[in-house]
């Protein structure tokens, strides 16, 4: 136990924290509070004569009965379930590859960085052309081998596959960057000792690389999961949610309700639900990491 600091020092501490605190309050806490507050009102810009009456949980009740909301939630969960492990696996492979002792490191690093640096919506547009039925590279490729062209973006299953491929391509490089940093912090001596003991490459990977990489994997997973919950740009650019609403995500449906239908009350309720889902998902990870940190 340290002796308690004198008051002036503590006051100084608060004073130094204040700017950050105010900034956070302004750009995080206030909008989130405003969002939750709006979700209890009817705010429809298309019908201003309705006013903005307090409706309690009506917007949430509407979501409960809204099939399209459940569909969008289901799609979002599907994208998380596929693209988070998918990009982890691909990203780990890329990181191992980039960690090999290349003579020139920068071309490898650059190749890793490029997809990450590309704006999401550009990635979506590029892959939309890739998967285009008539003009796309993918169909051109498979028809050269005598297969029939696939209606990638107008078939719900195919469209989901195409979107997942794009998301994994786009997000793997970020995973790889984080994991590469983790790989480089593993002491070489561990591998040398394993060599001496006659451990195979696979055993080295399983017993040294993976356990040492766990903290980096967790960091990567948290960031990736949060962005996966918010998936918007890529399906928006590739299919616009179609065919029908079969590839629509929660973020897209929120955007549709607010910026398209101008129904800010209902949109806020949906956004609040998404916020809660994000909090639950990340706190799950955080608790797990804290527990494993406590074990050390």
């Amino acid at each position: 136990m340290k002796p308690s600091k004198d008051l002036s020092e503590r006051a100084l501490g608060w004073l130094l924290l204040a700017p950050v605190g105010i900034l956070l309050a302004l750009i995080v806490i206030y909008p989130v509070g405003q969002l939750i507050y709006s979700s209890f009102f009817t705010i429809r810009l298309t019908e201003p004569w309705l006013g903005t009456p307090f409706v309690g949980l009506e917007n949430y009740a509407k979501a409960w009965e809204d099939e399209r909301f459940w569909g969008a939630l289901q799609n979002t969960i599907l994208y998380i379930a596929i693209t988070v492990p998918g990009s982890l696996a691909v990203g780990l492979g890329l990181a191992m590859l980039a960690n090999l002792p290349f003579k020139r490191k920068w071309p490898v690093r650059l190749a890793l960085l490029l997809p990450w640096a590309l704006p999401l919506v550009f990635a979506g547009l590029i892959f939309r052309w890739f998967f285009d039925f008539k003009l796309g590279f993918v169909n051109d490729f498979i028809t050269r081998f005598g297969f029939d062209p696939v209606p990638w973006l107008t078939n719900p299953t195919m469209a989901k596959i195409a979107i997942c491929i794009t998301i994994i391509w786009k997000s793997s490089s970020f995973m790889a960057l984080v994991l590469l940093a983790g790989l480089q912090s593993i002491p070489k001596s561990l591998y040398e000792a394993a060599e001496v003991d006659g451990a195979s490459k696979w055993v080295q990977f399983k017993e040294i690389t993976l356990p040492m990489l766990v903290p980096a994997i967790f960091v990567a997973l948290i960031f990736r999961t949060i962005t996966a919950i918010q998936t918007f740009d890529i399906p928006y650019a590739m299919t616009g949610g179609g065919p029908g609403d079969s590839t629509e995500t929660l973020a897209m449906y929120i955007h549709k309700n607010t910026l398209d239908f101008l129904d800010f009350g209902y949109g806020s309720a949906l956004a609040t639900i998404m916020f809660v889902v994000s909090i639950v998902a990340t706190s799950g990870y955080l608790r797990y990491t804290q527990r494993s940190a406590g074990r050390d």
Partner: protein
């Protein structure tokens, strides 16, 4: 002494005049879509700048589709941003703009001239721009959907321009079988989840004698409401329509038609000019434009389109903006657009103008078609209506919903709007 005073006064006067001239320099910002020929808008704006000293026009170009533009405008206007002075809006939007209070009503500016000004336009456009008796916007150009066809291919196979959808299907199959070109399809219309797909649904519905609303109530429990699905389903199944119709957006139809990959297309007026003048057009001189086919029992119907000029309620230069809008919505500009972009005029008189007809021979019969073209449902909640129609039509065309499911889901989403 007197002279000196005079010189001083003169200098002072010229200084004041000079600064007021600099002060009175106004820049008006007009927003237009990428598909509404911003290049032509720029030329018209240049002409206006020449005539109106002290006014500069900045043309801001938005997204390629009507809904992409409106989504952007929604963010600008809900935040009451004064950046835009004049906005080009789709014919379906005045009701929404009036309800949201985004458009400056023009009645006060038109004053005693209101009735006279509005009576010059084709009636459909005078109506479309008036909401609850208030003039919300003024028409920039008219539009409706037509049947584009390949004159050369019809002549080669000695087929007439189809009057019914059955004829269109039969002719398509004959030509496709004869040409043996795997890239050639018979017919195309918008099928992606975009605004144009609403017309893909409404045209066959109207053609069969049906309508979406009856006395303001939803009216889709009729046999006619099944017609759009049955017709387009048949065309797709027969291979007349491409299997990827679910990803076809408006301008893609023009691209495919211009590349020589379509015999027939259901699309808007602008395609004529592009198919005749674009360097990459393979169908120059071989394009015909006609009325859309009818069903066996019904009458041909078409969707009204066109773009309107609204003055933003948040503009800081409303008076100047209204003057500019009055210029853009004049017979003179209507004629400039007709020649430069095959934009259909909003004044009956311009259709008969010699130079206009020389550039667009089909305008002679287009006028009456535009006059009888029908409006998509008018409601401030139009975006929800549009979304219900286009997403279910898109699901049906992509083969993921049957007629019953698509129509049922469409009704379920439309009911709360028209309750």
């Amino acid at each position: 002494m007197k002279l000196k005073k005079l010189a001083l006064a003169a200098t002072l006067a010229s200084f004041i005049v000079g600064t007021t001239a600099a002060w009175s320099q106004t820049t008006l910002r007009i927003f237009t879509g990428g598909q509404q020929r911003p290049d032509v808008m720029r030329k018209i704006a240049d002409e206006y700048e020449k005539r109106t000293p002290g006014v500069k026009i900045a043309v801001e170009v938005g997204g390629a589709t009507s809904e992409a533009q409106q989504q952007y405008l929604n963010t600008v206007l809900t935040s009451k941003d004064s950046a835009l002075d004049v906005v080009l809006i789709d014919v379906i939007r005045p009701a929404q703009w009036a309800a949201a209070g985004w458009a400056e009503p023009l009645d006060a500016y038109l004053g005693a001239d209101k009735a006279k000004v509005m009576s010059q336009y084709m009636k459909a456009y005078a109506d479309a721009n008036t909401v609850n008796g208030k003039v919300i916007s003024l028409p920039y150009f008219a539009d409706s959907q037509f049947l584009y066809y390949r004159k050369d291919l019809l002549a080669k196979y000695k087929r007439p321009v189809p009057k019914t959808w059955d004829e269109l299907m039969e002719t398509s199959q004959i030509i496709m079988a004869g040409e043996k070109n795997p890239n050639l399809r018979g017919f195309e219309t918008a099928g992606a989840p975009i605004e144009g797909t609403v017309c893909t649904f409404l045209v066959p519905l109207w053609g069969e004698g049906g309508d979406m609303l009856k006395n303001g109530k939803l009216n889709l429990d009729t046999p006619e409401a099944r017609q759009p699905f049955q017709l387009l389903g048949r065309l797709k199944q027969a291979g007349v329509m491409s299997p990827n119709v679910g990803e076809i957006v408006t301008d893609r139809i023009r691209i495919n038609f211009q590349a020589g990959n379509l015999i027939f297309a259901q699309t808007w007026g602008y395609v004529w000019n592009r198919s005749q003048n674009d360097a990459d057009s393979k169908v120059k001189g071989n394009v015909g434009v006609a009325v859309l086919p009818a069903s066996k029992t019904g009458k041909s119907a078409t969707c009204i389109g066109g773009w309107q000029l609204a003055v933003s309620a948040f503009s800081k230069n409303k008076a100047e903006a209204v003057k500019f809008v009055r210029y853009l919505s004049s017979p003179e500009v209507s004629k400039m657009q007709a020649i430069a972009a095959s934009h259909l005029p909003v004044f009956p008189s311009v259709y008969k103008d010699k130079e206009v007809v020389a550039a667009n021979p089909w305008f002679e019969f287009a006028g009456p078609i535009v006059e009888t073209a029908r409006s998509r449902p008018v409601t401030p909640r139009y975006q929800e209506v549009s979304d219900a129609i286009r997403s279910n039509m898109n699901a049906y065309l992509s083969g993921t919903k049957t007629t019953d499911v698509a129509l049922g889901d469409m009704k379920k989403r439309l009911e709360p709007v028209f309750k």
